[in-house]
């Protein structure tokens, strides 16, 4: 089990440390996951997400290689643009979801902690013939996320860059708390905010400075539980839940990331077929009619027949409703369709509702 450089800081703050993707991370602080969730929706939250992986990609063939190994057309991205994308296998199923940053010297790719080794191996196995340098910089790079409507105000106290001029889904290199770093106006909560990629030795000082700078604005340190409930409300997929190697992007409603009109890339033929054919399953949002919490892996039934399963479910803290995400056979995807969630052997009524449960609020 690995510990981040902030381990002692989390323990001092009263964080409850749990294993996650090979790391010991705080699932919550004494304020509790609900307070942390609401802090991000109404003020701001600070997350230690150092478990996430980062690769740099440079070299004369960097663009050509990247076009060939992920689904989004990076020809649409200017220098400093950031964009969400997917790595897919030849059969169109999902290896990982990733974030791309176009830098002056090449690319930075942020990947899931659990998939870091798998992604790197897979990317390397497709690099033959390309003049590229692909480097795993995860160990020397620290990743923090500052999220929420007050994130800009708080971060502005620690940098000279005029943050109001930094649009959503872009990055820049700047100095925060005296340390040069890559700053992205990106995140995984459905709120405006920033992700900070800084030199690992500066992690503790930066964390402390951000917490101090935001204290009066209601900034809270946030754990994994709040991170999950926030991304869930905004219906952002989590690898291993909504997306995995048994699922293609169209089934997961991530077809918007797939640029089928760009030149050949791994998985293109299968994805073209997936787009044209009817899905085997489709991701839906549902709301409980009966009182119950639908949790991941619970089965979904209609008329006593199993028609799918839950991928994430909880009481939405913002909506104050019991909602969930899950896969069903496509004939049951229509808004208003009644389904049963099998909760500990008992059928509990639910109905299909529109996604997302919470509409993201970014600064465009």
């Amino acid at each position: 089990m690995q510990r981040t450089r902030l381990y002692e800081s989390h323990v001092e703050l009263g964080g409850r440390m749990v294993p996650f993707a090979g790391w010991e991370l705080p699932v919550q602080y004494p304020t509790g996951p609900l307070a942390e969730h609401h802090a991000v929706r109404t003020a701001a939250g600070l997350f230690d997400i150092d478990h996430m992986g980062q690769f740099t990609l440079t070299g004369p063939d960097a663009d050509a290689f990247l076009q060939a190994v992920q689904v989004y057309d990076i020809g649409q991205m200017q220098t400093w643009d950031a964009h969400y994308s997917l790595l897919c296998y030849e059969d169109g199923t999902i290896i990982d979801d990733i974030f791309l940053y176009r830098l002056p010297e090449g690319w930075m790719i942020a990947v899931n902690a659990d998939n870091r080794a798998k992604d790197l191996l897979w990317l390397r196995s497709h690099s033959h013939g390309y003049r590229i340098e692909l480097t795993d910089i995860s160990d020397e790079t620290y990743m923090l996320a500052l999220q929420g409507p007050q994130a800009e105000t708080i971060l502005q106290r620690l940098t000279d860059t005029h943050l109001a001029q930094v649009p959503a889904r872009t990055g820049l290199r700047t100095t925060v708390n005296g340390v040069e770093m890559l700053l992205g106006r990106t995140g995984y909560t459905g709120e405006d905010g920033f992700e900070l990629y800084l030199p690992a030795p500066a992690a503790v000082a930066c964390w402390d400075a951000l917490l101090a700078a935001g204290k009066a604005d209601g900034l809270l340190p946030c754990g994994l539980a709040a991170r999950d409930s926030l991304r869930f409300e905004a219906c952002m997929p989590l690898y291993g839940h909504e997306i995995d190697a048994q699922t293609n992007p169209f089934e997961a409603r991530q077809g918007w990331t797939v640029s089928l009109d760009k030149p050949d890339f791994v998985g293109r033929d299968a994805l073209l077929k997936a787009k044209l054919e009817e899905n085997r399953k489709i991701l839906v949002g549902f709301e409980m009619i009966d009182r119950a919490v639908a949790r991941d892996h619970y089965e979904i039934a209609v008329d006593g027949q199993i028609v799918g399963h839950v991928t994430t479910g909880m009481k939405s803290p913002t909506l104050d409703k019991f909602v969930g995400l899950g896969y069903v056979l496509p004939i049951y995807q229509k808004i208003g369709t009644e389904i049963d969630i099998l909760v500990r052997g008992t059928a509990k009524k639910a109905k299909i509702v529109r996604r997302p449960f919470y509409k993201p609020r970014y600064k465009e």
Binding site: G32, P33, A225, V293, F322
Partner: protein
Amino acid sequence: MAYRFDPSLRYATSHEWARMEDDVVVVGISDTAQDLLSDVVFVELPDIGEEVSAGDAVAVVESVKAAEDVNAPVSGVIIEINVELQDTPELVNDDPYGSWFFKIKPSSSVKSEMARLLSADDYAAHVEENE
């Protein structure tokens, strides 16, 4: 973490508390349990009239993070449930020893079943061992 323990209660190792009130056993979950669960969002209660054996999972308490069974610490019949918890499950966090889940009219074996539960001191030691 300083958990609160009530010396007037008997405890199960699965974190329920039980209290004899006249000839009825009142059941809830401990301060430790509510803290480990974090914010409670849902409580599923048994039916009144249900016959239960000691150790049966008869209720469910769900937090933001997890769903946990609440076991009957003694055998008997459910005679009352705390419906207030259905609408305000957060009471379990605010006041775990005031927020009872259900009441059991115990069977004749209640004395030995209550004796098999832990005292507050023994339960505190059990919690500490497993931390």
